[in-house]
Structure formats: C-alpha cells, structure tokens
C-alpha cells in the first residue's frame, strides 16, 4: 500500500507542479535609461570631435547630424513681483540613430536620423514642488528638430530673436513663456569650444555657453500665471562617445554670482567616486572675459546627501572652492527633491550660493547630478 501511495503522491506532485508552472506569468523587467552609457558609447559611423575648430554662429545653433548626441540646455532662476521664486529648465536632447551612410534608407514616413527628447521643469520653490514633463519624438514628420533659428519638439519651441531667444512650452499643468536675452557674449568652453572629457581621441565635445541671459516673461502653474524676471543660462554641447571609459557620471554646476561673475564647474566622476583629470570649469567676469579652469584649479566636495524614493543617495549640497578667484562657496538646494524620475534619472535643481564661512548669500544657480542611479544599481548587483 505504501508503494502505491508513493506512486500516487508522486504523480499528484508532478501534475500540481506542472499546473503551477503553467500558470506562472512571465517576469517583466524594465528600468530607466542609463545616460552615462548613452554618452560613453557611439557606433563607429558617427563623427568624433578630435580638436578645436572655429565655431560659426548662428549656423552652429542648428543640429549637427553627424554626431551621436547633442543638447540645447536652458536653466534659470526667476522671481515674480512679490519675490516668489521659481527654478526653470528646458532641455532639448538629440540622439542620432546613425549617419546617412550608415543608416538604411527606409521607405517610411517615420524614417528618422535621430530621436529627440525634451525636458521641461519648473521648481515651485515656495511649495517645494518639482513640476516636470518629458517628451519624446522621432525626427520625422517635422515633429522635432533644430535649425539656426528654431529648436522644437512638437509645440514646445525656442525661436531666435534679435537679442537672444524666446522659449514657449506648455505642459498643461505648468508652462513657460520667456524672452531670454543674452547679457554676456558666448563663452567657448575648453580650448576654443573643444571640451576634452577623456583620454582617447573622440572623448570630447563641442561646448559653448551663454552664461547669463536676462529672463522676462511668464510662468504658469495650475492655471495661475506669474509675471517673472530673472537670469538664465544656456549650454550647447554635441559630440560622440565624449565620455571616456570608467566614467560613472558627473556633477555640473552653473553659478551666477551677485557680483556679476558666472562660474561653471563640472566634475566627471570615476567608478571609484573620484574626480577624473578631465574635470574642468570656466569663470566668466561681468564683462564677459573668461578664464578656463583645469582640474587642479578648483575643488568640489559633497556636504550633504538626499535619499530618493528608491533609496539612492544624491549629494545635493556642496562646497566649491576656486582659490585663484578667492571663491569658497557653499552650495545648497532650494529644496531637496528636484529629481527627474522619468526615462532618464538625474537630479537637476535650483540652488543657492553662499559664502561657506559666513553663509552670506552670494548668488544662485543650477546643479545637475547624474549617474547615481546606475551606480547604485551596479552596487546592488
């Protein structure tokens, strides 16, 4: 009887296991894009930035289709008449899908040479609300693009004006309508706009900046419009495989000081958490005169970290020193949660700049932190 029982039990176990396996739904895995990987790799067919060349404006405001990635990056701090403060960001990213020679020629209205992504954000500092919206579009059917005079993704547009640009972007819940007039001339980063970011040829980008734009216009949040003024910053950059190997992310600072000076610093972070030797910066005087800063001419030190809902720590407060300019700055976020949790994970937020000893306010700016999510995921693995 025991043997029969055993056989029956075995058959029952087999049948039950089969049924359980059969009803098992397949596993679904997905995750955000890894920005660092996007910038570190590019198929051979793309052109590389290997040395300085003269930049030509306004022609170079337009897209550069031979390169893997490119962006048009506005950030700024705005105030309404009652002193209510807002942070703003509008970014247009372009990711090339291949060059004309390397791409198959498709007979399709959706055939595209690039995918475009736009990020629009307003930091409502009084209410500690980070409003943000991400959009994608294929570079087809006129849905997105960038010419010398116009940069757009669907109905979000930046048009060139005599004095600068006009930004118009409506995300429904919030919107920006700003005139952005250049106060200082263009700053060519690195060596005449050639910004080397890694040891190999091609680990570089073309990089120019308008470090101070006078902003004037309207911010709308939840149907209420605020007339605002303030200062903004425009970064333009393009290249292929600009990050060298072993780079995990970057910390980027755009600081506008009350004394008229602007300071840009970026720290390329290695997997060991150290600053790469290709980290750099630029100090722009109030008259536009620029000093390029090498890795040894400044220091950046995280002071405080904020933990996001996924448990990843982001260094949102910093101490920045540029001894040659007599600057020892404390950089603190206007509020902690200014994190993009969409297709790409990064922290991009309005900050205050203070004297690090006396805490006296010295200016404002924007901070960008990237690569921490991917690093955390790698750490967990």
């Amino acid at each position: 009887m025991r043997r029969d029982l055993l056989i029956v039990m075995l058959l029952v176990a087999l049948a039950a296991t089969w049924l359980v396996l059969r009803s098992d739904p397949p596993e679904v895995v997905s995750g955000p894009l890894d920005t660092t990987a996007l910038l570190a790799e590019a198929p051979e067919a793309f052109e590389r930035i290997t040395g300085p060349r003269p930049l030509d404006f306004p022609a170079d405001h337009a897209a550069h289709p031979g390169y893997r990635s490119e962006w048009w990056y506005f950030t700024g701090n705005l105030f309404d008449r009652d002193g209510r403060r807002f942070g703003m960001q509008f970014t247009l990213f372009r990711f090339g899908l291949g060059t004309e020679a390397s791409r198959p020629s498709l007979d399709s209205v959706f055939a595209a040479d690039a995918v475009w992504m736009a990020h629009l954000a307003v930091s409502d500092i009084e209410n500690r609300r980070f409003l943000n919206r991400e959009r994608f579009a294929r570079g087809a059917l006129g849905l997105a693009g960038a010419t010398a005079d116009r940069w757009w993704l669907r109905d979000w547009t930046v048009t060139r004006t005599e004095a600068g640009w006009r930004l118009n972007a409506d995300a429904g819940e919030f919107a920006l309508d700003l005139a952005l007039d250049a106060v200082k001339p263009v700053v060519l980063q690195g060596d005449r706009g050639y910004s080397q970011k890694g040891p190999a040829a091609g680990n570089a980008s073309r990089y120019y900046t308008y470090s101070r734009l006078a902003a004037d216009g309207r911010v709308r949040i939840d149907g209420r419009a605020y007339a605002v003024e303030g200062t903004a910053w425009l970064d333009r950059e393009w290249g292929s495989s600009q990050l060298g190997p072993g780079i995990e992310g970057w910390d980027w600072f755009a600081l506008q000081l009350d004394d008229g000076r602007d300071l840009m610093l970026y720290r390329l972070r290695t997997e060991a958490g150290e600053a790469s030797p290709f980290s750099a910066g630029a100090l722009v005087q109030s008259d536009g005169a620029t000093t390029i800063l090498g890795r040894d001419e400044f220091s950046l030190e995280p002071v405080r970290r904020w933990r996001d809902p996924d448990g990843v720590d982001w260094p949102v407060a910093w101490r920045a020193r540029v001894p040659s300019a007599g600057l020892d700055l404390s950089i603190v976020p206007t509020f902690d949660d200014q994190q993009w949790r969409t297709g790409v994970r990064y922290w991009e937020g309005a900050i205050d700049v203070r004297a690090s000893d006396s805490e006296i306010p010295l200016g404002r700016g924007y901070l960008e932190l990237s690569g921490y999510s991917a690093a955390s995921a790698r750490g967990r693995r």
Binding site: S108, F110, F136, A137, R138, L141, D155
Partner: protein, 812 residues
C-alpha cells in the same frame, strides 16, 4: 484501517477504479479546456495593446480607413497633446498561421507610455542598422508556435508580399501571435510607407482627448475594448460553456454508474464489515473519503489534460476569431492558480456529490449480509408527471425569456426531463427487442437485462443523452452549413464580381465596367462604418439581383419600391434582432451630411456577420467619395458567359493589373471554407462529448459484465457452453447499446432544433430555416456505438469463458 480496506478493494479492481477516474478526468478536462478558452477569447483580443501600453491606456482608431501621417503630426503638435504612440498593425502569415506585425514608435513617446510594460527594455533592439534582415521582437509562445528561435530569420507573407525578419526575443506575454517592430522599419519592410492604424495614449490624457479629438477618430480605453470583446464573443462563449457543462454532466454519469456497480460488488464485504462492528458512520466516512480521493485525483488529471486541450482548441478558433472578430487569439492560454483552484473545487464537489446516493445505499446494507440481494424490480416511481415538470419548466423559460441563457437553461431542463423518461422507454424498447429476438438464447439474454434495471437505468440515461448531444450538435452544424450554402448561392446572382486590391473602385472604373460589351447590367456595393459603428452597405442593384434577398419580414415588392425610391432601408437579421427592429420602425443613421431617419422596410437573411448591417440605396449617400464602390457585380448579356466577361475585362483592364475578379462558385467555396473553419470548434466539442459518451458506454457495459460474472458462472455450471455464453453477453451489450442509441436519435433531433431555432439565433442573431434534420451524424455515431458496445461486451465474456465456473462462483 478504512484507507487499507479501500486500497485493498481498488487494488483488486483496478479497471473499475480507472474507469471512474477517467470519467471525472474527461469531464473536468472539457470544463477546464473551455474555461481557459473563454478567458483567452476575452482577454487576448486586445492583449497586445494592453501589453504595449498598460491597462489604462487609450486607443484612438479611425472610423475610416487609416490615419494619415499629416493628420498624426497635426494631432501631435496641438497644445497639450498627449504623447501619442503611433502604431501600424499589419496582418501577416507564416504558412497557415495568421499573425500580426505591430509596428510602433519604439524610440519616442512609447518610452513614456510603456515604461511599465514588458517591451520597455526591447526598444533599442528593434533599431535596424541595415545589416541583415530587419529585427522583430517575438514572444516565447509565438516562437514555440512557429517552431523558431530568437536569432533566426523568419519569412512572413504580408499584404504586399513577403518580408524576411530577424527574430529578437521578448518577454511580452500579450504578444502572442504578434511580432513587434519599429514602425518605420515595419512600414518599410512591408511596403506600407504611410500606414498608421491607431494611436495609443496614456490614460491621463482622457480629458484632453475628449475635448480635442476630431469626429472621424474614435477613442476607447482598453477596458471598453475588453467589454466589447466580451460582448462580441458572448454567444460563442455561452455555447462553449453549455457544451462543457454537458460534457461534465456526462462524465459524472460515468462516475455514478461505475461507483454504483462497484457498490454491488462490495455489498458482501460491507455486510461483513458491519458484522464485525464497523458503524454506519465509519462506513460512510470510508466511502466519502474514497469519493473525495477519486474526485481529487480525477480532477487533477482533468486540469492537466484540459490545459493541453485548451491549447489545441485555441488553435482551432484562432482562424475564425481572426476572420469574424478581426482579432488575433493568443498562441497559448493563460491559466491562473485562482482558476485552477475554482475548477478543482468544482470537480471534487461534483464527484463527491455523485457518491452520495451510493453511500446512502451502502448504509442500508444490514450487518451480516453475505450474499447479494436479488435485485428488486425497480418500483415505477418515476411518473410521467415528474418527467413532464422539468420539460414544462424548460419550455416555459424558453418561451418567456428571449435571452440566450434562457435558451440554454431551457434546453438543459428539457433534457433533464427527457433523461428521467429514458430508462422507462429504454426497458420498454429492450422488451420489444427481446420479443423480436424470439425465445432463443438471444431473446432470453436480453430479457435477463431486466433484472439489472436499477443498475442500468442511469447508465442508459447518460449514454442516450451524451450520444444525443453529440449527434444533435453534428446535425445543427450540417444543417446550418446547408443553410449558408443556400444563402450564398441565392445571394450571388451576378456572373462575376470585380474589386481592386487595397483600394476602392473609382467612378470612372465603374463606368468603364458598365460599358463593357459582354456586360448587360452591373450591381455595386460599397461598405462604410458609421460613427456609431453600424455597418452601412450601399447597393445599386439591377432587377436580377433582387431575387438574391430572402426576406424574413416585409413584403418583397413593397421593400423594393421603397428602397429604390429612397423611402427607407433594409436591415439584416442579426441587426434586426440586436436592435429589436421590424418593418415600419424608424432607424436614425449618422450619415456624413448629418443624422437622417429611415423607415425599416424589411429584414433579410444574412450570415455574413453577427453584428449585422443596414442596406441602403446608393443614391441616398452624398459626399465626395460616395460614388466609389468596394465591388461591382457583372451580369452577362443573354447568351454571354463568364469567359466572355473575363475576355472583355482583360482587354479593358488587364494591363493595369489592379483589378481582380472572382466568380460566384469561388465565392461560395470561400464562404463555406470560412464556415468550416468557424465551426471546427463546434465539431471539436461534439467529438469531445461523443468521446465521453463512448467512455460512459464502455464503462457501463464493462461494469455490468463484471457484476454479472457470478450469474454467468452459474449458467456455465448449468451447462451453457463458452460459445453460447459469449453470444449471450454480446447480445446483452449490443441490445443495451442499441436501445441507448435508438433513444438518442429523437433526443438528438430535439437538440438540433433547440440549437438551430433558439440558441444560434439568440447567440449570433441568425436563424436557420427549420428543415428536416441531416442524418449524417446518426449514420456515423450509431454504428460506432454498436461496434464499441460489442467490443465492451467481449472483454468480460472472454474473461468468463476462460475461468472455471467454480472459481467464478466462489468469487465475491
């Protein structure tokens, strides 16, 4: 000890035990198979959109042909527009397997919309570098279905020719029978450079879409899609469920008849057990446990077999679901543990329930009874009244409630009533057979059956009902097929039908067709879908075409006069049923120029769709493309024929190669092959029910043979030769089978009419002319049953023949 006793008994009688197990397993397998299939019909119809865009997303589809790229770009640029995901759906084939290629914008908004979906990680892999064939993501199940592996190249037959694709694996569960590609690559590979089938948007955009969507586009949530799929397939699913419950009922009859035969064999041991002190409670627990174990094991086996069966059935319905509902079914069903749990509970409960009467009987065995009681003649308790009650109730339900459930429930009650009559009639029939056989051995053998009346009654009922169901379903399908054939032949009055590939015929082409020498007259048909999803077919018909309509309501002459004068419209039977329309009613149609009201002039027979359509005179339609048509029927001049027409056509259009034509005979063949594909699932159900009926037959006869072993031994001891005994046993089983089969025939006719006249019209909206039932199924099933009946008798007969009478006499 109880378990030991049960085990010992079943060990000695493995055959009976297995038969009971097979009975439950077979019944539960059909129930499980159909339950899974039901789920697949509803859930999978738009599983792809679900998979790609998440549960709350919105699908925007055009009411007309497709969405133009300019239109999409315009919609995308509107202020506040959602992140549309443009999608192209391309029907493709690999051999006989129908699939769909879904091309979507895997790079753009789809990231946002599909952030939580299984495809999120695959977008980059769908990028085509131009090296090798274009990539397409394929799910595990679809790859298994086609026998391919990710990494291989697959050739798909698309609407504009074949395309080679490089397969990339994906985890997407809802992507059964679907391959996903980048939209640009898909458009390129299948030569559809501008096609956009639909736009997906996140659920959060509902308010914006409602405010801004143009009238020629329609937005629906996936839940609404699912609800309409549920509605669309309600008839099919209800039919399948009813059939599966009938199969289960038949399976349970098997269990009951086996258990009650076993009971007879154990009478003696129960007597002994009671004598040595086993209480009735102990005995009841022992039998209940046996029922439970038997039920659990049988159900478990049924779940496994049913799951495999569901996948087979799914293969049968994949084609009809595609052609009737325009949707793809899953490659494999998706069972859940919850569903398995529920079915397991149902199976165990049902199996335990049928053991109750057996337990009750066991408890009546007095202590110490060592010999079998001679069976008392069955009291004539089952009066006509008792049988009449469920029949009357069933008929009343059928008459009073016009719903499908009432039709199925009514049929169930009528059959239950008839089942109680079967034993009485059956034994009457056996008595007649015995008289016909005369006073010889055969006659006596049949008369002996009367002694087992109570044992045999349930088996006889189960057998007759199951055979009747199988035959009735077969009759309905054949009858329906004949009706469809008549309808198609009547409908197709023209000599040749002309259409264009991938577009409509222009006014100019229609005029040129009408002017051909061999053409005496033309008819035109153009089909459009109105804003409320009603299908509107505009006709321009010559005199000869009018006889193609079979009018179910309305005076033909009046209908025709009113139709041509534009006074009203005609509606097809399914639409008339669905909307309760009759001649004289008013019907409002949302036409291009604004809503207009028409009188319903008549209702005509139509089997082309179960949603039905409205027929209107073509002159009533206005608008720029109102004169373009979908097809033109050519009527040859007197004395002319198809060959002359084709010669003319080739001369006038041959070079262009854009027109295609087909004759009525080919259309008829195509229609019937669609019909045959559609009804394959019904045939499968009929075969399953029939199969279980035959299991019931064999089990009942085997059990009967084993039960009578002692009696046979007595006959042998009294001098009956083995050959004579052999004849006696075979005569008995054949007589029983014949009685069951003969009784099944009139019940099958009842089932046929119930299906044809009530269930089909209520499920699909179309009626079938009530002619004589086709007898094909009877010709197949009855001889098969007799053959199996004879075989089932031979096994016990051979065993008895081999055994020495003395040992058989001793055996309990």
């Amino acid at each position: 000890m109880r378990a030991r006793l049960s085990h010992g008994f079943f060990r000695r009688h493995p055959g009976q035990w297995l038969l009971a197990l097979v009975g439950i397993a077979a019944g539960m397998a059909v129930v499980t198979g159909v339950a899974l299939l039901r789920g697949a019909l509803v859930d999978s119809l738009d599983a792809a959109a679900d998979e790609l865009a998440g549960r709350d997303s919105i699908v925007v589809r055009p009411l007309g042909e497709s969405i133009s790229p300019e239109r999409f770009a315009e919609l995308a640029r509107l202020p506040g527009a959602p992140d549309w995901v443009p999608v192209v759906r391309i029907p493709v084939r690999v051999g006989d397997v129908q699939l769909e290629v879904i091309g979507l914008d895997g790079f753009s908004a789809v990231r946002d919309v599909t952030a939580d979906s299984a495809l999120a990680g695959d977008a980059d892999r769908l990028e085509w570098t131009g090296d090798g064939p274009p990539p397409a993501a394929i799910g595990r199940e679809t790859a298994a279905l086609l026998g391919v592996e990710p990494g291989e190249t697959l050739t798909l037959e698309g609407p504009n020719g074949p395309a080679d694709l490089a397969l990339v694996g994906t985890r997407g569960a809802g992507l059964d029978r679907r391959l996903v590609m980048d939209i640009a690559v898909a458009q390129h590979a299948f030569d559809l450079p501008t096609a956009i089938s639909e736009l997906l948007a996140p659920g959060s955009a509902a308010a914006w879409i409602e405010r801004n969507l143009p009238a020629d586009l329609q937005a629906r949530t996936l839940d609404q899609q699912r609800a309409s799929a549920r509605e669309l397939t309600a008839g099919l699913r209800a039919n399948l469920t009813a059939m599966s419950l009938l199969a289960l009922a038949t399976g349970l009859f098997v269990v009951y008849s086996v258990l009650s035969f076993l009971m007879v064999q154990r009478r003696r041991s129960f007597g002994v057990l009671r004598a040595i002190g086993l209480t009735p409670g102990d005995l009841a627990r022992m039998l209940a446990q046996e029922g439970l174990v038997l039920g659990a094991l049988g159900t478990l086996a049924g779940l496994v077999v049913g799951t495999l069966l569901a996948d087979l059935l799914l293969a049968l319905i994949a084609d009809p679901v595609r052609s009737i509902y325009g949707q793809l079914a899953l490659a494999r069903t998706a069972p859940s543990l919850g569903l398995y749990g529920t079915l397991f509970g149902l199976g165990v409960l049902a199996a335990t329930a049928v053991t109750l009467p057996v337990v009750r009987e066991a408890l009546r065995v007095p202590p110490g009874r060592l010999v079998r009681a001679a069976e008392a003649p069955a009291p004539d308790r089952v009066g006509w009244a008792l049988a009449g009650l469920p029949v009357a109730l069933g008929l009343a339900w059928l008459a009073l409630d016009p719903g499908l459930i009432a039709a199925l429930g009514g049929l169930f009650l009528v059959l239950a009533g008839l089942a109680t009559l079967i034993p009485r009639t059956g034994f009457g029939l056996l008595a007649v057979l015995a008289r016909l056989a005369g006073g010889g051995l055969t006659g006596r053998a049949i008369r002996l059956l009367g002694g087992s009346r109570r044992r045999l009654a349930p088996a006889l009922s189960a057998l007759s009902l199951a055979l009747a169901l199988a035959m009735g379903m077969g009759m309905m399908i054949l009858g329906f097929r004949a009706s469809v054939d008549d309808w198609v032949q009547r409908l197709l009055q023209a000599d040749l039908y002309v259409s264009a590939t991938e577009r409509r015929l222009t006014v100019d082409e229609v005029d040129r067709l009408a002017a051909l020498d061999a053409v005496a007259a033309i008819s035109t048909v153009s089909v459009q879908r109105l804003a409320d999803q009603t299908r509107l077919t505009a006709y321009r018909l010559p005199d000869a075409a009018w006889s193609g309509f079979e009018w179910l309501a309305g005076d033909p002459e009046r209908v025709r006069a009113g139709f041509v004068a534009g006074r009203g419209v005609a509606v097809s039977e399914p639409l008339a049923r669905a909307r309760g329309l009759a001649p004289g009613d008013l019907l409002e149609l949302p036409l291009a120029g604004g809503p207009r009201r028409f009188e319903v002039l008549g209702v005509f027979r139509d089997y082309s769709s179960d949603a039905g359509f409205v027929a209107i005179d073509a002159d009533q339609l206005t608008g720029p493309d109102a004169r373009e048509v979908d097809s033109v029927g050519l009527y040859a001049t007197p004395g002319g024929d198809r060959a002359a027409l084709e010669a003319d056509l080739r001369a006038a259009f041959g070079a262009a190669g854009e027109l295609q034509w087909i004759g009525p005979a080919e259309i008829r063949d195509q229609s019937l092959s669609v019909f045959d594909r559609t009804f394959r699932i019904s045939w499968a159900m009929a075969v399953l029910v029939g199969g279980i009926a035959l299991v019931a037959l064999v089990s009942a006869l085997l059990a009967h043979g084993f039960e009578r072993a002692r009696e046979y031994a007595t006959l042998r001891a009294l001098g009956l030769s083995p050959a004579a005994l052999f004849r006696l046993v075979v005569a008995q089983t054949l007589a029983l089978t014949l009685a069951a089969a003969l009784l099944a025939v009139p019940i099958a006719v009842v089932v046929h009419y119930a299906l044809a006249l009530f269930i089909q019209p209520r499920a699909f909206g179309w009626s079938v002319p009530a002619g004589l039932p086709p007898l094909g199924p009877v010709v197949v099933v009855v001889p098969l049953a007799l053959l199996l009946g004879a075989l089932a008798g031979l096994i016990p007969a051979a065993r008895i023949g081999r055994r020495a009478p003395v040992s058989a006499l001793r055996a309990g």
